[in-house]
Symmetry: D2
Subunit: 297 residues, 4 copies
């Protein structure tokens, strides 16, 4: 059975070995926060993971639905991973938030965009007024989903990229995890683009350097798990192979039910704030935390 | 193991027999919609169900997350059940929406209140202006949850009842189901009040004729299921008794995870509109559907 | 003084004559609803109005903040004006909602988009399933405002138009009126595009056949009035010319205060529903009102 | 003509003298923030102001619609005024947010309640867990408006007070100002309760020590101005007495139009956060700013 997950770390754990000729997976702590780095190296590794070769970084955060979190520290560690993945050359960054604002578990992308400091239109104004280093030009858009717009998101983004020629595109999306435990507790970053069929919400077209003409960093937080997958995992623990049973319970109408935690509103609220903070810090190192809060409310 | 559910019908199905000396459960169709009526008769029945004696009615609706629904017909069938449970004498009805507006799966109660036609303050005004039969006096309140107010909901409702002396109280709350399949597809009504420890969201105090001084009708829609319960059900299907395994997967921090469908926003939106429509129709039979839409947007 | 208004009808009333060589303004009733049609004919007319030559239609609706409205009839009359302005040939229509969803008086555009039936991606699916006439292909987008995205709205729309080649673009925006009385009571439609400097919210770039490569229909509802303008009007009624005084009261910081009615939430809610309904009916004449409600909630 | 305003400072300015036998009005700066203190002393003063004898404090803040504000300092100055008005004895405080969450200019009260730290139900838990001084017991409620509930707000609050016996009630409400310049720039506090007929939104019943059985502190921010009043002011500046003209422009349907700034969403957002912060600081001096943010998101 094809376990449905967007998280490279879950696949790595499933494969067992942490290092092989085809991929390597390293775990470490940064400022007390668990960071794992999985690198898929060969076509064989690509096949094992069902994902393109490249870097997959996982930051394990305090559950976003918890009331006591140290957001600033977590944002700092995530910002560091973004910087690691960012191409060296400077220049315009386009931040894209995928998803549907009216569907809470799918609202991560648009909600992050609300918190991004867009600066492309400010040109030299800021430097003149604030007598500070120049800001990195940033554009930000939440294009909506196919069902709302009638236009594939990839079409919208591709034509925008042709127009504004970003040096890098950062794409935020809600993800699917295999394990309920991961929901709202993991941030995944990668430099491989978003491939067809992946994503929590069944989005179809590729968003990558090939289609957009610029390197792509994708970031996401798992917000849903597939009921059938969760059920199969549970049965596997007990040594039973019961996809049929899982399907009966979790796919009543033949279509699998995606589940999300009761605390999904809080999860999305916290996750989108931390991700926006991390992106702003990575892209505007010359601004203090206080200055960033001024501009983005 | 004590399967956690607020639905009498799930308990009845579990008990097996549909009729006994202690309870009876009847299924029928009204206008093509499945309606079940479970009556708990004796203290032994109360013990079997873990619920007070009285009537429990279940209306099975088209999944609230479906886009094609026949809301008007469903509201009509639900309105009929409300009328069946309403005490005969006329008089003021207080409608109470329990829950937290900011937690989507718990927002059912407050959202229903938004759609209730409150008329208590209109006194004779409507009759004079519209030259129509008099309206039944209705008051409506969403008091918030303990964590927001610092006051037990039961305290607020009890003191309001002392003040305005309703002839009947209708209480709306989000419920927990044992089966994922029930989420957003069932409306439960009962005339037994709400007992301590029940409710999807762990609300503690009793709301009943004893505590409020007026007959209580409670209405709810299951919006969450307990992961551990769902897992145990799945294992039971396969003949395995694995509460431990279920607990590992669904209660990562020792605390069971409540899950809700990805489509929870749509579910709450539809469910709250249909319930409000049903209550308005049951309480204001002299108003046409069109007149009701005028007043409640 | 340059009275600030986006409404051709206010300018026509100010000019006095209803017909001249340079423009003509006709008032009539359709289904009991007042419809005015102003046609600017010559460059001199363009100068008098400060607006490009073309058709400007005004539909006077029951105040959107009123609770009793006959939305269906109003939507029908507005749909008729859209059909009048639509180019004859069939083909893809792109609907664009300008404005900022988080600023209530500026949320008209994005809120209308929420109610538009996007069909471009459905291709032949609908016809196959519903055995109905084919749907007109429609795409819909709310691109956000410059301050959020860092990208001029005109850049986003222009590149989308290059990509999807619509046969017509419908643009919805909130407008500024000179008179408080007009707020939420007027729908203006025109076939002249949106010119620089107009619009309630100070948006700058032209959106027209020249920049987008397709005919443009613009639709709007006035949601704000300029305090200084309102004040000057008031003084003029009393025969006083007191821009200074008006400026002191209405432009405390040197920047004029735009005001909106207290009932702005209701106004936007109603206006966006009626406009979306009108657009859907104009673009999909083969669908019944009921079918439209199925698809757009 | 009876100028409609809820702000004592506007009335004081109108009366001319800052000190008389019947009232006194003092202006000063605290931490660079303008604070005025008007004390109405005698029945004659009550008549002149149309307000009960007592203290009226006005804090002039950076416009709430401005993006750069020093919220912490402003909250501190407002907290000091609350402490000045609070009765000396300790004990339960009930915070009440008047208004309608769905009407943006009237949402101040409910939005402040969202940010209040309710502690009444925590009893000794906090002290045990945090090993800190005990928290002051606080309850908080946003009871909704008469049109939604069918119950006078004063009835709800009075019966709650009988039940939970607060030592003090703090009431938050949106206010009407006479001058547009005051909207979103002034916080008024008083210890005289809320009298019939006052309030921006036409709420009718008295909320005072007499009706609630506990001292009442009321706090508010002006969010609307009466168009007719604004117009008359403007004409008065020009030496014209033109209520008729003002009425024609600002009360098209015979009913005066209340206007609010275009930036009302931002205004309400900022104002509610600062007021909640000020109340929390005044009531829980043992908590640091950081601890307060932990509990109230």
């Amino acid at each position: 059975m094809n376990f449905r997950t967007d998280l490279a770390i879950e696949l790595a754990q499933q494969l067992g070995d942490t290092v092989s000729q085809d991929y390597q997976s390293v775990q470490q702590k940064e400022d007390g926060i668990a960071v794992s780095h999985t690198k898929i190296l060969t076509p064989k590794g690509e096949k094992q993971f069902g994902k393109p070769a490249g870097d997959y970084i996982t930051v394990e955060v305090v559950p976003f639905s918890d009331s006591v979190t140290d957001s600033a520290r977590e944002a700092e560690v995530i910002a560091r991973q973004i910087k690691f993945l960012l191409p060296e050359q400077d220049g315009l960054v386009l931040v894209v938030g995928l998803g549907n604002l009216s569907v809470t578990p799918d609202a991560l992308g648009p909600r992050v965009i609300d918190g991004i400091l867009a600066t492309r239109h400010l040109a030299g104004e800021w430097e003149r007024v604030a007598k500070k280093d120049r800001l990195r030009p940033v554009a930000a858009i939440a294009p909506g989903v196919l069902g709302q717009t009638g236009i594939e998101t990839s079409e919208i983004i591709a034509c925008l990229c042709e127009k504004i020629k970003p040096s890098c595109v950062i794409i935020i999306d809600a993800l699917a995890a295999r394990s309920l435990k991961r929901l709202g507790r993991t941030v995944q970053l990668s430099n491989t683009g978003i491939s067809p069929g992946s994503g929590a919400m069944n989005r179809r077209r590729e968003l990558s350097r090939e289609t957009l003409g610029a390197p792509v960093i994708s970031m996401g937080v798992p917000t849903v798990a597939d009921g059938v997958t969760v059920g199969c995992d549970l049965l596997a623990v007990e040594g039973v192979s019961g996809e049929e049973a899982a399907r009966t319970l979790f796919a009543p109408e033949g279509q699998s039910m995606l589940v999300t935690p009761k605390e999904i509103d809080l999860l999305i609220d916290r996750a989108s704030k931390i991700l926006a903070m991390a992106i702003n810090r990575a892209l505007q190192p010359s601004l203090t935390q206080e200055e960033l809060s001024f501009f983005v409310s």
